[in-house]
Symmetry: C2
Subunit: 347 residues, 2 copies
């Protein structure tokens, strides 16, 4: 392709042409739409035995991501993962996505299929279909808004408001990895991903750019009577635990020593004189699940999770609302959990 | 409110606070969500006898609207109307919307409720509920993505692909008004709406800023076996007729003399030496419906439409695909209908 064509700007490309050129990377299995992409709207079959779960997420360039640290493939991948994570937090099975995207003049023709290539990857295992969207030029930044739909058996969903005093607080995976990956990437002026040779750094960068939504765990938690409440960790543990507590009208005590952290994150934090606990408490975009369960389910859930290789860790116990949200350190001192909301990507 | 507070920028306002402060202007009747706004996702009841219709629309500042010509109320109003129009074009009944909005630093605190106040107005008659969304700061432009849901009785929806050779082509309302209103507004540097005294100009500006989605007509067309295909006129008649023909694999002949134009638009076009026919053929954002019906339904549909005061006009006849898309003028000359895609707001 000639340099001129390479730099051809997408602003004048018609939406129809864009949609036509879209690689057929999305599943055509799963949900059977009656009208799919390309009409004024999609039409879905009536799902007699299922409830519809729906969520919208917004990703803005230089707020949620930067093209300095992420390729268009990464941006698509993460956009899908962030949305799948909302569905996971409801304990639902994702079925379809709708993508609205505004493309700035700096967008080149190759970026388009790269974005969709990335978007399709986390969708594929769940047979999530791309059923619609809208495309526009943007005078400035790249904007992406994704609406995702899922389904649950009636009543079998998780919300933020069911946690009760005495319930155990769990998280999946390890926390702070995404922030560590971002701290590393922020040194660069262009996405360095393919050039990163160190395995631990590759891991952390992967955790930041291509997080895994905990759809399987969410489904498990909702299909059994295990979880009383759940939320996905997009803003960081401190912020999201407070969201969950506010919705459930409870307090919480978490133990700093029990917060799961990866070796890779801890080593890298030490190297750049950052505090691992700080990253794991306040770092966002891990897209792990934070959930609560009544103590009677602890043994059974841990057994099932182990069998299904779903990493979960108890980090605390729900308290009465007047207790507030506190953290206990290894020396048994307790402090109010400081709130420091995650600011996503800050340029 | 002090000038300092007036100018307080919204960028740091938390999404939760924004949602909490949202005026309760939306219907709480209609659909009964099981989980509403504020959780990771909304949960809708299983609709045993209805099919779900869903569409996403994107509005970008200085592409689709300008804060020079529209207030935040207008922007909200039109965002809702544009989305309702997609649902109308499917013949569905709108039920719920989800709003993703990225707010630039120039956004002031008062803008927020104004946007939602405008958004709620076209939603109210149909009991459309606001069920979720996402809010973010934006480094530059205001960006709005709306996902709208609706419902139809199984099979009773309209698509772009059912038009057959010999079907009659109809449009609702009058065409080109929105473009005339925009042409007038483009002279100003600030939204002049409330200061416009001339009734014809008020009408045209209203048609541009606060269009009416043809939900009632769409529902009528889909509930009876009248319409073979439908599309809403967002890009302009020339572009959208071609979309419909392409999807239906047919051609079309329209008659320039039959295209419905308002007196106000024709007078204003004359005044500024613009061509009314050009505006009505290529002007976008009228949000009228373009639809086709088999000739046998003509009499009954026109009778019902008249009774229900739904203005519809036959403008042409569907042809075989090889005929292409043509326009016949008053002197009986026929030309290929030129395509000139509407560029929304061009700064």
């Amino acid at each position: 392709m000639s340099p001129t064509r390479r730099q051809a700007r997408l602003t004048r490309l018609r939406e129809f042409e864009l949609l036509q050129s879209l690689p057929r990377r999305f599943s055509t299995q799963g949900l059977h739409p009656i009208v799919g992409i390309g009409d004024d709207a999609a039409v879905l079959p009536s799902a007699t035995s299922q409830q519809v779960v729906i969520s919208t997420d917004l990703l803005v360039e230089d707020i949620h991501f930067s093209r300095k640290t992420a390729t268009m493939y990464d941006i698509g991948y993460k956009a899908a993962a962030a949305n799948l994570s909302d569905i996971a937090a409801m304990g639902a099975i994702p079925t379809a996505i709708f993508v609205a995207i505004a493309l700035p003049p700096s967008f080149i023709e190759e970026d388009w299929p790269e974005f969709y290539r990335g978007l399709a990857v986390p969708c594929k295992p769940f047979k999530v279909q791309l059923l619609g969207g809208d495309t526009s030029s943007s005078p400035t930044s790249l904007f992406i808004a994704i609406t995702i739909m899922g389904q649950v058996a009636p009543g079998h969903f998780l919300t933020r408001h069911g946690a009760k005093n005495g319930d155990l607080i769990y998280v999946s995976g390890t926390l702070g990895d995404s922030t560590a990956g971002l701290a590393y990437l922020n040194q660069f002026k262009r996405p360095p991903k393919s050039a990163i040779r160190s395995k631990p750094m590759k891991y952390l960068v992967q955790r930041h750019l291509q997080p895994t939504a905990r759809v399987v765990l969410g489904e498990l938690l909702a299909s059994q009577p295990y979880a009383s409440a759940a939320i996905d960790l997009s803003d960081g543990l401190s912020g999201d635990l407070k969201h969950l507590c506010r919705h459930s009208q409870v307090g919480a005590l978490i133990y700093s020593e029990q917060i799961p952290m990866s070796q890779q994150m801890q080593h890298y934090a030490k190297r750049i004189r950052a505090t691992p606990l700080h990253w794991s408490l306040h770092g966002g975009e891990d897209y792990e699940l934070l959930f609560t369960i009544p103590p009677k389910w602890q043994h059974e859930l841990e057994k099932v999770a182990k069998k299904r290789r779903l990493p979960i860790t108890q980090i605390g116990v729900i308290q009465p609302q007047r207790f507030g949200v506190r953290i206990e350190h290894s020396d048994h001192t307790r402090h109010v959990l400081p709130q420091r909301s995650y600011e996503h990507f800050s340029p």
